[in-house]
């Protein structure tokens, strides 16, 4: 990875719920930020800069909310930035914050991502009729369902694979007290019998709408060495974007995702992701995206992802756990979801993931986020050991 060493020295997140009516937006982000600062043994006064991210402003109805949140996040008198890269934003925001440290510009950066979906309606927020554009009015699920059907057609995957992911991630979330969904009684049959939204996606194949925030404190090597809790070292980080509409674009297995992973693995020395990672926190908002991203991220050959899922390889007790926190299928504060992935990966390699801690063998974990119509990607690799 280019630049100075960077480490995650504090992680905090809110409990994710369908409506956090007990807090304002400022209260929500502050809840996550305070927990991250406490973890890092720091206060707002110690922070050099604040980087905040969220998905479209229309999800809450506030333009550039970093302005209103400057006070709540202790940014007054400091640099503050606001990142927006669609659903990948939680990851991108963490990367922008990490680069402030990697560049040698700051020692301690607070980064926060949030979404308070209960303030608005994301499906309508995504479906504003625009002049000269075909009206979609389908939300994200309606956009992705045809791509999932194309994946099923290409790979020959049996129809129940998505439902397996839906059950696996909800059962994993039972060990995560901050997850939005706690469905102790979920079964494959229950998913199969939930109503059809966008073929082949049934209601329980989709992520919830959540209010929530995620925060991290990123520090330089000096800060990491003085931190009260174990740091998660950043071993690599990458972002890639490709065009939305483009005849040569493979929307099912996007080149930007492959390029992003290749750049990331090169930085972090990953040659066989299934073996080299202890776990992965990957943005899977619709169940079928687990097998699709298994292939895109090189955990298996193209067309083989569904076989890993079916064999239980990605379960918490499998050889490569994916989303041991319960993932996006169990909590989806959209703009924060990517940072939750990045932060949960960090917690795993710090050995601080609580009841959903995986066994540490290589001490490396992948954090992944994607957005838009699968054209925006952000990823990082974190590790227990200081990078060379």
């Amino acid at each position: 990875m280019a630049g100075q060493r960077v480490a995650v020295v504090g992680v905090g997140q809110t409990a994710h719920r369908s409506a956090r009516k007990d807090v304002s937006i400022a209260g929500l982000v502050r809840e996550a930020a305070q927990e991250a600062l406490d973890d890092a043994g720091l206060t707002y006064a110690d922070i050099d800069a604040v980087v905040i991210g969220k998905a479209p402003d229309m999800f809450e109805g506030i333009a550039m909310p970093e302005l209103y949140l400057a006070d709540a996040l202790g940014a007054v008198g400091k640099p503050m930035m606001r990142v927006h890269t669609a659903g990948s934003v939680g990851g991108s925001t963490a990367i922008v914050a990490a680069k402030l440290v990697a560049a040698g510009v700051h020692e301690r950066v607070l980064t926060v991502a949030f979404e308070k979906q209960s303030e608005s309606n994301a499906t309508w927020g995504l479906s504003v009729p625009m002049p000269f554009a075909a009206p979609l009015v389908a939300g994200a699920g309606g956009f992705f369902a045809p791509l999932i059907r194309a994946y099923i057609h290409r790979s020959g995957a049996p129809r129940h694979i998505g439902h397996l992911v839906a059950v696996k991630d909800r059962l994993a979330a039972l060990r995560n007290p901050k997850a939005h969904l706690h469905m102790a009684d979920i079964t494959l049959q229950m998913v199969e019998e939930s109503f059809l939204l966008w073929d082949p996606l049934r209601y329980l194949d989709t992520c919830p709408s959540s209010d929530g925030a995620m925060a991290m404190v990123l520090g330089s090597e000096k800060v990491a060495d003085a931190a009260p809790n174990p740091p998660a070292w950043v071993h690599g980080m990458a972002m890639r974007s490709e065009p939305t509409m483009f005849a040569r674009r493979d929307q099912v297995n996007p080149q930007a995702g492959k390029d992003c992973a290749a750049d990331l693995y090169r930085q972090a020395g990953i040659t066989d992701p299934r073996r080299d990672f202890d776990c992965a926190e990957v943005y899977v908002p619709f169940s079928w995206y687990e097998p699709m991203w298994l292939e895109n991220l090189g955990f298996c050959a193209e067309g083989e992802g569904w076989k890993l899922t079916e064999a239980g390889a990605t379960a918490p007790d499998g050889d490569i756990p994916w989303n041991p926190s319960g993932g996006v299928l169990s909590s989806n504060p959209i703009g924060a979801s990517g940072m939750v992935r990045f932060g949960e990966a960090a917690q795993q390699v710090r050995g601080m993931a609580g009841d959903f801690q995986v066994d540490l063998r290589t001490g490396k974990a992948l954090g992944h986020a994607y957005g838009g119509g699968s054209q925006f990607f952000s990823m990082w690799v974190v590790g227990s050991e200081r990078p060379e």
Binding site: A2, G3, S24, A55, P56, D57, M58, F59, E60, G61, I62, A63, M64, P65, E66, L67, Y68, A70, D71, A75, V76, G77, K78, P79, M81, R82, V83, H84, T85, A86, S92, V96, K99, A102, A103, G104, V105, G125, L126, V128, M130, P131, F132, A238, M239, R240, S241, E242, P243, T244, M245, R248, R249, Q255, A256, D259, C260, G372, Q375, F376
Partner: protein, 350 residues
């Protein structure tokens, strides 16, 4: 810190562009900056943009905007929901890490289709201020009143700023408001938002801007006289208008001190959307009469929202590259009444 320079700059602005959508508006500007920058698109290290969804009235304005660049093969790319001056800052950081040596930065926005003054009220605290729906001009007028009262200046001083802007803008090809106007002419027009007149308020503008950044020898290779970024810093203040001293720009001063901007300059381009803001900013930056302030006419002559701050950096760089200035200060702002401010110091030489 690595030496990083602005090696090319392009911008466009019109009062109302009813023909082109945002993507079409960006294409010629990006093309011009890339051509002048001399770095092929395939060799660009990083791309970063700034825009505001609420100007377009839909989510993801930046998504279609990226089509103006043509992100194939896939690019290292990012976006800030801020003026593109902050996209330039993100790109400068990316170059500082050593990961990349060059970047394309662009910003865009069309203010004409909507009601900009009302839309900007959506930046305010959603619980306690937005229900009052204060327009950006209402808030600016409050600041102008506070400033005139505290400084002892009068609306004649505001008129001097407005008139000088329009006269300077006569040589600016993208100016949407310019003319041989005197302060007396400005004062003859009615006050619309006391103490402001129309000439003190920025014109509604559609436009875009792009800058190419390059590091060290690459910058020297592609540009005869690169405009080196010697300091770039930004700071934010409290959001509530009652929580800060509206008569001064504390965050501009903090950023200027950190960026080393107080050592004099030949030229200063300030993201002053209103006449009184120029006076407040000039005081914060310690600019005396020897510094040419907003020789382009500034945002009072053309105010393409979300790129107007980036244009300030570009205007200073353009003068340095042309050999008209040796050292300049560029300023960008975000939020109601100068809540957040960036200061960038640029110099010629090697």
């Amino acid at each position: 810190m690595r030496d990083v320079a602005v090696v090319s700059f392009a911008c466009s602005a019109v009062a109302e562009d009813p023909v082109h959508n945002e993507t079409e508006m960006i294409v010629p500007v990006v093309h011009e900056a890339l051509t002048a920058g001399g770095i092929p698109k395939g060799e660009l290290g990083f791309v970063c943009s700034g825009s505001l969804d609420y100007l377009q009235g839909g989510p993801f304005a930046f998504v279609a905007g990226l089509d103006a660049v043509g992100a194939w093969p896939p690019l290292r790319e990012s976006h800030v929901e801020m003026d593109a001056a902050w996209a330039l800052y993100e790109a400068w950081i990316a170059i500082q890490t050593g990961e990349v040596d060059s970047a394309l930065v662009y910003g865009f926005g069309k203010s004409s289709p909507g009601d900009l003054h009302e839309i900007m009220a959506l930046q305010t605290d959603p619980y306690y201020v937005l229900p009052l729906w204060p327009s950006m001009v209402d808030m600016a007028a409050l600041q102008a009143s506070a400033y005139l009262e505290a400084s002892g200046r009068t609306d004649a001083d505001l008129a001097e700023v407005a008139a000088r802007s329009q006269r300077a803008a006569r040589s600016n090809p993208i100016a949407v408001r310019s003319g041989d106007v005197s302060a007396a002419d400005v004062l003859a027009a009615p006050v619309t938002h006391a103490p402001l007149r129309d000439a003190d308020i920025p014109p509604i503008t559609d436009g875009a801007a792009a800058i190419v950044l390059a590091a060290g020898d690459l910058a020297r290779d592609v540009c005869e006289r690169p405009a080196w970024i010697r300091g770039i810093e930004h700071r934010i203040e409290a959001h509530g208008l009652g929580l800060r001293d509206l008569t001064r720009s504390v965050s501009t001063r903090q950023a200027a001190e950190a960026a080393g901007a107080l050592g004099g300059a030949d030229v200063a381009e300030l993201h002053a959307q209103f006449s009184h803001e120029e006076l407040i900013l000039a005081e914060a930056l310690g600019l005396d009469g020897s510094v040419a302030v907003n020789p382009s006419g500034g945002p009072l002559a053309a105010n393409p929202v979300m790129s107007a701050g980036l244009i300030r950096i570009g205007e200073v760089a353009r003068r340095i590259t042309a050999g008209e200035a040796g050292r300049g200060v560029a300023h960008a702002t975000s939020g109601p009444c100068l809540q957040q401010n960036m200061v960038c110091v640029l110099e010629g030489g090697n």
